[in-house]
């Protein structure tokens, strides 16, 4: 793999590797530091030293973004998303004029202003670049695309709630305008003025800068507040359902890809796999983490996707690697854990809960039999070894 391809992989938003993940976290931290530095730079009552520090930080972040932009431009030909029959130059141009390329270009603009050396201009206008960096943050943040998809899936329901919101808002503002104009000509002078009060009330923000004084106005206010709560509840209901569905869908694809890496599941047909995939969850452990603790109730078993674990049973620990599974004995015997299991290296595992284990057992008896056979083999091996600890 060339350096270009390696760098591309590191910067690819869809790369699931540990290094790429760290790169993304670093990127987000950098953007937040940059935004913080620019924000602090707008404070007038700061000592000059702090102003200088903020300016330096802003400069560093902007420089890193410049380097990042150039690297991304250079590695663009390695992208499978850009049609592969293209010459490197055309590929780079395509990336440069893509949404991502333009946003990354805008994000290095503050650099130019800072380099211009005009301190006044730098302090004043660089504040505007906070917004550019926020946009960069939005495109690089994980999960924003998930939320965007949920909003898009539920757009018809959400637009219905939006229309309802507008209906309540306008009705409330208009009625309050008629009722309160006489008592408070300044705050309720027109429907647009009343709208400010209505939105502050409907969202239950309640600044208190405009407050109805008449009995009727207070009644309208009360109805608006309760409506606000109802709108919020509706919104929560819609988003809760949409979110649950989308997460389930993505999780399926993610687990599906992990399952493909476990040899144990290789022989099972695609239909049976589908039954199992919906029941598995993935869980990561750092090196040294205690995955299972002896004596605790046995509520799940684990399949190792990557990494190595140490099973502390008997005198000599057993080591398990990719493709192996553990924790199945407590499920088969309905007894507490008989061993500690510790992650030797960072581990990615697939977890199968006891309820799902038995439900799969009913549907795929062969799978459970394979697990039982392996468990018996291990117990025999364990007994053969002279052991001092409890079992």
């Amino acid at each position: 793999m060339s350096l270009q391809q390696k760098l591309y992989g590191l910067l690819d938003a869809e790369n699931g590797s540990r290094a790429a993940h760290r790169m993304r976290v670093l990127e987000i931290v950098l953007i937040l530091v940059g935004i913080g530095a620019v924000a602090v730079g707008t404070m007038n009552d700061l000592v000059p030293a702090h102003h200088g520090l903020a300016a330096t930080l802003t400069g560093i972040v902007a420089t890193v973004f410049l380097v990042e932009y150039l690297v991304r431009l250079w590695v663009a030909p390695a992208s499978p998303h850009i049609s592969d029959a293209l010459s490197p130059l055309v590929a780079r141009w395509r990336w440069a004029v893509s949404a991502e390329g333009l946003i990354d270009l805008l994000a290095i603009l503050p650099m130019a202003v800072i380099l211009s050396g005009n301190a006044k201009l730098g302090a004043d206008s660089s504040a505007a670049f906070v917004l550019l960096w926020v946009v960069k943050l939005a495109t690089h943040a994980p999960g924003v695309s998930l939320i965007a998809r949920v909003v898009s899936n539920e757009r018809s329901a959400l637009s219905a709630v939006a229309i309802l919101f507008v209906i309540v808002l306008i009705s409330g503002a208009t009625l309050a305008y008629f009722v309160e104009e006489a008592a408070q000509p300044a705050d309720f002078s027109s429907i647009p003025s009343a709208l400010w009060w209505a939105i502050v009330t409907l969202t239950t923000t309640g600044y208190g800068d405009v407050v109805p004084k008449t009995g009727l106005g207070r009644m309208i206010g009360g109805v608006l507040m309760v409506s606000g709560i109802a709108v919020l509840a509706l919104l929560a209901g819609i988003l809760a359902n949409g979110f649950a569905e989308e997460v389930k869908r993505r999780e399926f694809v993610r687990i599906w890809e992990l399952v493909a890496k476990v040899p144990f599941f290789a022989d099972i047909g695609a239909i049976a796999i589908s039954d199992i995939v919906v029941r598995l969850r993935s869980r990561n452990f750092p090196a040294g983490a205690v995955i299972l603790r002896r004596g605790t109730p046995g509520d799940s078993m684990y399949f190792i996707v990557s990494g190595e674990v140490e099973v502390r049973i008997g005198a000599r620990p057993v080591y398990l690697r990719e493709g192996a599974f553990f924790g199945e004995m407590a499920l088969l015997d309905r007894r507490p854990r008989a061993a500690d299991v510790i992650a030797v290296t960072p581990c990615t595992t697939l977890v199968l809960d006891v309820a799902d284990f038995y439900q799969i057992a009913g549907q795929q008896p062969a799978l459970i039999q394979a697990i039982e056979a392996e468990a018996k083999r291990r117990q025999a091996a364990n007994k053969a070894t002279p052991s001092e600890g409890p079992k």
Copy 2:
């Protein structure tokens, strides 16, 4: 089809066609513009030119509504909802005295006031018509009926929460009245006065115009705030469940109707179809949209309900039309997408996720076999064609 019937179809709220949908969006935009113009017209500190613009806009919107009213009256005999053995005159009368007809009639009243030429009266009273247009908005907005149905389905649970809300509200106000009256005789002079404070607190709006001063009063306030949060949470819970159920029900009917248009599903019995319908989602793509991208994980397949797509695989692209499906290879082989698929015309598709695909495969093996046969046929055809791109 006569002009009358065509116009009726365009204005029919239940018509799912693209043109009728645009008509409904246009209607809502018009109402919002009209409301905005009237609202701006109530501002006193506006320059005369802006006042004139607002008045003109109001007039235009009112005129459009007048025309709309007359058209709707004319096309009423084409409605299947109005008993069809009637003479056109009786059918029009029936529509005119229906809820929809009366609301549309009220919505053109501002017209009359504006035509009266009395500027003062026009500016003052036309504000009142905002409310009439809000009612029109509510009847024409999509999704409002969905929310109304959810509220109606959950009315017993919602009324329980309403009673609970009233109980907490009245208890809080009465207790605060006893506790705070001595300290703040103006704001807590009676139970109705205390109710204003209680509702502002219970909805967590918190204007701050009335605030308890005594320790006991603050405790009552704290309990009210926490109760407010609990009531909101209960409401969200009820509406979330009700919404999910109603949406599922409507979605079933909608997908059912789309499935009926796909020849591929025609041979399957109604019982089997029911299994598939609950697993399909519909998705629309504008012309030119990239539906599938080569190299991304294959997590779903698509059935084309209407429109045409271009499959960019090999040297010569393949075109697929209504009734065809695509994206099934990635599901069958568990590999990334091998081709880009782009919408040539606006497309309506039915999407089947990988998890559902394999679950259907378990229940309806014949269906999956038909898909597999088609996939093999296509792969053979593709191989026969000399191709330059990767597969």
Copy 3:
């Protein structure tokens, strides 16, 4: 049935009849009117006539409650909840000392104060009775028991959230006390004082009477606000799930009882019935309501539990009574409704959605065959009748 038993039935909270339902609604309205009258009576700036009206209304409501108390006492022996081997006197005593009896007794206390003739005392102390009537409202309101059950079911999760709330509240108040005491010695003089600010902030009420001034204090405030939103979200999540489960459980019992009244389901075994019960919903229609409208999509069928409907198909309408079903043709043929169906008397129906219809068809083919046979019989009968309308 004796008058005593009839009256008992009318007042029984678990009686599902229409008359008993109206009685309960009347009771709640009466309590609300009474509370309203007492509340208005506490206003000092009222004209004497209104004061008199409020006092009169309070007196009437209190008198009705007195009569109600005596009636409930008299009918107590008819209650199956009170052990039936008792003499009437003992049964009445048991009711009188039950929670319900004591609350109803307390609710007539205002009567005594009003009768004492002391106007000053009446106005002052009767306000306190609002609280007694609120308690009466809570015991008679439908659905309050449902909410109480949900809260009881979820008490361990709810208490966890409450502890979390207390932890955040106390931490926030203590930190703010240290940070803000120097800047605002009056508002943050002690931890209890700071607690007031903390609860107003954590519930996002935000009166604005106490506001942090220092940068650190504002940061603590920001964390409290965000925590408040998270606590609310957690609460909503817990209550949403608990509510959905409890409603499903109650609905099952309610539908179960309705299904027992439909002869069509009589022959089906209890296990099969259980499958069907979870899929049915009940729906009531007032006399004259249009249940089905010709031309609309056929998304459900109906079983009549009580009442009579008119099916307007062909020249002579068909009338259907308890135990009959309708709307099944659109489901079997996948076509729009062929007839209008109107409720002749108030009707209680069980609704079966199309998705559930086909799922039942897969599990209970005999049931669907019975429906199909009936549908064919009707179509034949319909054709035999000379008809003028469309089919």
Copy 4:
């Protein structure tokens, strides 16, 4: 069992016994009393007697914590969580340097300050110890670990919402800074100042200390408020789903352990048990509680895990103990309850709802047959006994 082991069991957070549960409740109450006493001690306008009382209470609570610390240190060797091949001294050292040990150590620090006799220092600095006790509260509170697990499971979705929150917050603050700085130079002097307004608005707290004055600023405010509601709704949706899943998972393990104690389920294989476990709920009754009431609808049956109940049917009551079941007749016959059932001792039961009963009946006919056989045996026994009460 030695005193050391008994004490360990009593203090073990995972011990499900009644005594250990009471111990935990007592611990939480003690911490709350201690926090309350310290908090009151910070009030300056208190009479000296109250100050003295607060100081005494603080001292008592601190002393109890000291004793608790020593006891926990002493019983550490009995813990199965600390590797058992260790000498008692090493085991104690391990506990002392564990997170729990250090927190408990910090919680007794106030003791030292109070003992120093410096009243001024005691009053001032002991306030800081509130925070230490809050941490102790967090580690001992039940359910906090459940919430922590939910947050950990949903961390990717939650971090997406957090990023979204930050994006909206920073955008809103920056825009408001540009728009409002001219009109309100004091409140919007820099981006950090504007951030205070933005967070108060985005969380819909709305203190009202900073309020936008310009039209554009108010529009930004309105968007922030609505965004705040949407963020809250998203959060609620994520937490609701995560909570439901985690609770279901824990409930399965808990019910699983209870089922293992009921002999009736002993013969059933693990796969069948899994089907039943997901349908059972546990419910505790204090001695004397009425579990079933004659005449109410029969919607569930009960299995006794521990305790004894009295079935009041016929002349002589029947007593049932661990392993027995009751309430099955109403389910089998679809009739109201025929007997009152009262808890004689505190009871733990497993409840099976009617819907689940019939669904299990379809899957595990043998189980239901066993229940029916037992029911018939009991009815025969009941008839043989001369009875006076109704059946």
